[in-house]
């Protein structure tokens, strides 16, 4: 599936091998897939999508899913 995404497999190998938090890994993978999808666009409308991905992962990254404040 990763190969078919069109990202150089060497990048995936590095991402898989890198010792990091699994939430962070999943976050990075999502960003890479998003960027791959929009690579042909000079200025992709990334902001909203990024907000969504950041939002989704930052709660998990904090170790809980409680929305304290924002």
């Amino acid at each position: 599936m990763k190969e078919k995404s069109g990202v150089n497999p060497i990048i995936w190998d590095e991402v898989d091998r890198f010792n990091m938090d699994e939430v962070l890994r999943s976050f990075i993978e999502k960003l890479l897939l998003f960027e791959r999808k929009h690579i042909h666009e000079k200025r992709p409308r990334y902001s909203e999508e990024y907000d969504r991905i950041i939002e989704g992962h930052s709660r998990e990254y904090g170790g809980d899913d409680e929305n304290e404040n924002s």
Binding site: F18, V23, Y50
Partner: protein, 668 residues
């Protein structure tokens, strides 16, 4: 599984008048397609057609004849109808076609004065058995088309799959380290990592701004960071500009050095040396000719008198001979030597044994004879001597013509040699007269100015890099202060988490980027070396191929000496082919490879070796070679026959101004 081009459809594209369909071999083992054609039959334009269809441009014309870009229509069609519909369609897929791309234009006018009146595109993707088709009658929005093309081969890396064999060694010219780095960066997909990092940095700036309301101190730090980041960006852009300027100046300098080398190597030095040699040879020949003429004159003078008297000499000789032989009277008296009689008298004994004592009768007889023959003996002696002398003189006369002939022929040879050398000297002098001394001087001035420019740019880049380092350090300190301030705040926990997530992701991505670049450099180095040694015909001359930290390519000889600068054009092409093959193999894209003029610079045995090895080392890859008949010799064909899937021949008909694609049949 590798992507392959299944079919190319051409309609009125440049030489290809009317409709043409080229169905390539997609066989796994017979992975080679040969498209053979003489110069001008449309080989390069076939590659242009593929590029035009997939990417909307024609890279080979961009570099060589930019004026030919845009008017892709067949000239004959335009002449006859005043308009032309041009279309290129390509079917791509693994075992079966799963992608279709088509680009078309309608053109009106003449080849030099034309107007594109309509553009259209079509792209289709097959999912299971169904094709999903997209199309539009304008090229304004090609988003879907580009997405589908980039699934097969993104434009950024197509140069490593579709390339001109004769232009390959541009990669290894001086100052091209930047290009090598760019190539490696492109195939690494580093752009993806850079875009992630850049967008995350934007997000962090947004998040930071949300903290502004917390305290005035936070706001001050934020403002400082933003100002520093602005400077950081400006400095980065400035360094990038300087990098580009340095690369351009190095390329220009290299071009000028190449021109100067041509003058030095081909014209000035060797011609001057040859001229000096010829002048010295001619001087030497002149001396020999003079000497020979003098010898001839001396010989002639010393023998001329004989020649003028030859009739008299011959007459005298004949007369003497007749008389000596007693064939005519009076004969020459017998040659009775008086010395013989004198000796008998001294010995007092005759040859008959009789005593010749004083007063004896026998003695008196001999004394009388002696008195009679003494004057005759002198005459006879003189005649004999004269006879031999005359014989020698007549022999000299006989040889005179032969010797004169020898003299003349030697002189003729010397004069011929001199004339040849004088002719060449004149040619060289004329050539040297044409060498533009002023142009060489101007080129040298230009070369030095580029050298100064490069030095100045490097100096400025160094200063900017130092400033950038300082600014980044200040940003790091400010951000650390900011973090401390924010950590004091009990609020905005989620915002802090977001910041932390983005910041950690940036750090990880930066490390990954570094690792990927280093890994890919190491893999490309290893594969380039592997291919180079496999393809090279004199591998024992080399010990290693390296891609250094600064992306400089190095080829080492057996003693560890640098050999890159001394590689022949053919060897450089092998290196470039190896580098390209390495890059395409690590690109992550399994696209087909098309090489225009793959063996153009390679001759003889090496050509055979490459022909044998290339399809094997690019196995599992569909390779299409656009090849001339000079390249595609029977030996080359025999060497790759087991890998050839299909052979086509392009034949250009000058009268009809069109190319025909002839299938030569499946290679057996």
């Amino acid at each position: 599984m590798r992507m392959r081009i299944h079919k190319i459809e051409l309609e009125n594209y440049r030489q290809y008048h009317g409709k043409h369909v080229i169905e390539l071999s997609v066989d796994n083992i017979k992975n080679l397609n040969i498209i053979l054609g003489a110069n001008g039959t449309g080989k390069t334009n076939l590659l242009n057609a593929i590029n035009w269809c997939l990417y909307g441009d024609e890279p080979s014309l961009k570099k060589t004849r930019p004026e030919l870009q845009q008017c892709v229509a067949n000239v004959r069609e335009l002449h006859v109808n005043g308009r032309a519909f041009v279309r290129v369609g390509i079917f791509i897929g693994e075992e079966n076609p799963t992608y279709y791309f088509e680009r078309a234009v309608s053109i009106e006018g003449t080849p030099t004065n034309f107007e594109i009146i309509r553009r259209s595109w079509r792209a289709a993707r097959r999912y299971d058995k169904n094709w999903q088709t997209f199309s539009d009658n304008s090229w304004d929005d090609l988003t879907i088309f580009n997405i589908l093309v980039s699934e097969i081969l993104p434009i950024e890396i197509r140069d490593f799959f579709f390339f001109d064999g004769e232009r390959l060694d541009d990669f290894f010219r001086k100052g091209m380290e930047h290009e090598v780095k760019k190539a490696i960066t492109k195939v690494c997909h580093i752009e993806l990592l850079d875009r992630c990092i850049s967008h995350l940095e934007d997000k962090i700036s947004e998040i930071r701004r949300k903290f502004k309301g917390e305290s005035s101190h936070l706001e001050e730090i934020n403002n400082r960071i933003e100002a520093l980041q602005k400077t950081e960006k400006e400095l980065e852009e400035s360094i990038e500009r300087l990098d580009k300027l340095i690369t351009d100046a190095e390329k220009n300098k290299e071009d000028i050095e190449e021109q100067l080398r041509q003058y030095e190597e081909a014209n000035i030095v060797s011609l001057q040396e040859e001229r000096d040699g010829l002048e010295s040879d001619i001087e030497h020949l002149d001396k020999r000719i003079e000497r020979k003429k003098k010898d001839l004159t001396d010989y002639f003078i010393s023998n001329a008198i004989l020649i003028y008297s030859i009739d008299a000499l011959e007459y005298t000789f004949t007369q003497m001979e007749k008389r000596i032989k007693r064939e005519e009277h009076p004969p020459i008296p017998p040659d009775i030597k008086d010395t013989f009689l004198k000796e008998l008298l001294e010995r007092k004994r005759c040859i008959c044994g009789a005593e010749l004592n004083e007063g004896s009768k026998e003695r008196e007889s001999i004394e009388k004879l002696l008195n009679e023959i003494e004057p005759i003996s002198v005459i006879s002696n003189d005649v004999q001597e004269g006879y031999f002398e005359l014989s020698t003189m007549l022999r000299r006369c006989e040889n005179f013509a032969k010797i004169l002939e020898d003299f003349n022929s030697e002189l003729e040879e010397l004069n011929d040699e001199r004339a040849k050398k004088a002719k060449r000297l004149k040619e060289i002098s004329n050539m040297l007269l044409k060498v533009p001394a002023e142009e060489i001087q101007n080129l040298e001035i230009l070369r030095r100015s580029y050298e100064d420019e490069i030095r100045r740019y490097i100096e400025r880049r160094g200063q900017e890099q130092l400033k950038l380092k300082t600014v980044r350090e200040r940003i790091r300190i400010e951000e650390s202060d900011l973090r401390k301030e924010i950590s004091k705040s009990k609020k905005q926990r989620l915002l802090k988490l977001k910041w932390s997530l983005c910041e950690d992701a940036i750090n990880v991505l930066k490390t990954i980027k570094e690792n990927v670049i280093n890994n890919i450099r190491a893999i490309v180095e290893e594969k380039t070396k592997e291919y180079f040694f496999a393809l090279h015909w004199k591998k024992q001359d080399f010990s290693d191929v390296k891609i250094k930290d600064n992306y400089e390519i190095s080829v080492l000889g057996q003693l560890g000496e640098e050999r890159l600068g001394t590689l022949s054009a053919g060897e450089r092409q092998i290196l470039a082919l190896s580098f390209m093959a390495a890059l395409s193999s690590v690109s992550g894209f399994k696209a087909p490879v098309i090489i225009d003029t793959p063996l153009g610079r390679i001759s003889g045995e090496p050509k055979k070796k490459i022909a044998q090895s290339l399809p094997y080392y690019l196995r599992d890859t569909q390779i299409t070679l656009l090849i001339t008949d000079q390249e595609y010799t029977p030996t080359v064909r025999d060497s790759m026959i087991s890998r050839i899937g299909k052979e086509f021949e392009l034949v250009y008909n000058e009268n009809d101004m069109k190319t025909e694609v002839i299938v030569r049949g499946d290679a057996k």
